[in-house]
């Protein structure tokens, strides 16, 4: 019964909501017709037009009041209907608590899973690196391989005409020892000297390394700390710059601290330190691969030149 009535009433509601002016006009016209018809009737009975008009208005009663009552008919009905629906839904839900609970759980799980997946995907894929113009950065891969040899990196860096710059880096475990923080093993990046400049990262303390800090193999024992490492391992020491720490037994000078929001260029491998790529042989003792074309050990990140179009995915 309820449903059958909707066949008649839903169009009325829609009209009153979507075409309010039209509904108002119709109400006006309906009542005007009544009064006109009554006047015509009174005139036919022998009254003058003026008398007929007055008599018609008199028998009708307050026009505005009746119009408002007509609008009320719609509103009251609508509210009543909503309340009935809510109560009906509530009763149905209460009468089958098992279904209600499982529907609730299903909704909660569905929404929760979607939120979790979206959050993960958003962090992993959609959010650009917190660096300057992250949208202009391109990551290199070769088929399914994402790593290249250092000589190949130099070739790409020196022989392309679409990149404003190309940097290479590698994630490596390092042993760090300091008088203050003791010894700990952590993840760091070996990165080419242009790494921070290409990304547009500005130091939080001291300075970051540049291309001139990465020229001669083994000649640049300097490093940059991440903000978190500085805070956790070095107790946020404001005088950390120029201090010395040992990395795999060799003394390195701390150049500075990276800003808090810059956590490296990989999602899960957030480094504690960055050292110049030229220190590769010292950081990885016994494994000097910088000149080997067979050792595909570095990842490459380039910045497109202004005007260079991002290649379309195949």
């Amino acid at each position: 019964m309820l449903w059958v009535r909707w066949f008649y009433t839903v169009p009325l509601w829609l009209r009153s909501v979507l075409r309010r002016n039209r509904a108002e006009y119709d109400l006006d016209d309906e009542i005007r017709f009544h009064v006109e018809r009554e006047i015509a009737e009174n005139v036919a009975r022998g009254l003058t037009v003026e008398e007929a008009r007055n008599a018609a208005l008199c028998t009708f009663g307050g026009i505005e009041q009746h119009k408002e009552e007509c609008r009320d008919a719609l509103r009251v009905r609508f509210i009543e209907e909503c309340r009935q629906n809510v109560r009906f839904a509530w009763r149905r839900l209460r009468s089958s608590p098992g279904l209600t609970v499982s529907a609730g759980i299903a909704l909660a799980l569905g929404i929760g899973a979607n939120t979790a997946v979206f959050t993960a995907v958003d962090t992993l894929l959609f959010r650009p690196l917190p660096v300057e113009a992250g949208g202009r950065l391109v990551f290199f891969n070769n088929g399914t391989a994402t790593s290249f040899s250092y000589p190949a990196f130099r070739d790409f860096r020196d022989r392309n005409d679409v990149l404003a710059g190309l940097t290479a880096y590698r994630v490596v475990p390092m042993n760090i020892s300091t008088p203050a923080a003791g010894n700990f093993r952590t993840w760091g990046y070996e990165a080419t000297g242009n790494y921070f400049d290409l990304l547009g990262v500005k130091p939080f303390l001291g300075r970051l390394f540049h291309s001139e800090d990465d020229t001669q193999p083994g000649a640049h024992p300097v490093l940059v700390l991440s903000y978190l490492c500085w805070k956790r391992r070095f107790e946020a020491d404001p005088n950390i710059v120029s201090r010395t720490v040992k990395v795999n037994g060799l003394d390195y000078t701390i150049l500075g601290v990276a800003p808090a929001r810059f956590k490296g260029t990989e999602t899960f491998f957030n480094p504690d330190v960055w050292v110049p790529m030229s220190m590769q042989a010292q950081v990885e003792p016994g494994d000097n691969w910088l000149e080997s074309r067979a050792a595909t050990n570095v990842w490459m990140l380039g910045r497109l030149k202004d005007g260079a179009a991002r290649p379309k995915p195949p």
Partner: protein, 111 residues
């Protein structure tokens, strides 16, 4: 006398539906028929008819359609829906039960 009491409202609805069961009419014609059948009993102004009509329309018991009237201009004609016909039967039966019960009571002879 402008706003009908609940009892009169119920009778008004019943009468409107009964009148419309015969043929579709516009508001003014319904008011004329109402006066003819019950002018002395139903003391309501012409205007009160319209809220009643709109409520019945909201219930889905009557439906409205704009048609050209005898005056040559458009008027809103109401007709009874199938739902309304059932409701009319129900209310008529109720009314008959109620009125016969009351008739019985009021016609009891005082002993």
């Amino acid at each position: 006398m402008s706003k009908p009491s609940d009892l009169v409202q119920g009778m008004l609805n019943l009468l409107i539906m009964k009148i419309l069961a015969l043929k579709p009419l516009h508001g003014w014609a319904i008011s004329q028929r109402l006066k003819q059948v019950s002018s002395d009993v139903l003391q309501v102004s012409d205007g009160s008819l319209y809220p009643a009509l709109h409520k019945l329309e909201q219930e889905g018991w009557i439906a409205a359609e704009w048609k050209i009237s005898e005056l040559g201009r458009r008027a809103k004609y109401y007709s009874l829906t199938r739902l309304g016909r059932k409701q009319l039967e129900k209310e008529t039966a109720q009314w008959q039960r109620l009125s016969s019960a009351i008739t019985q009571v009021v016609s009891l002879k005082e002993a």
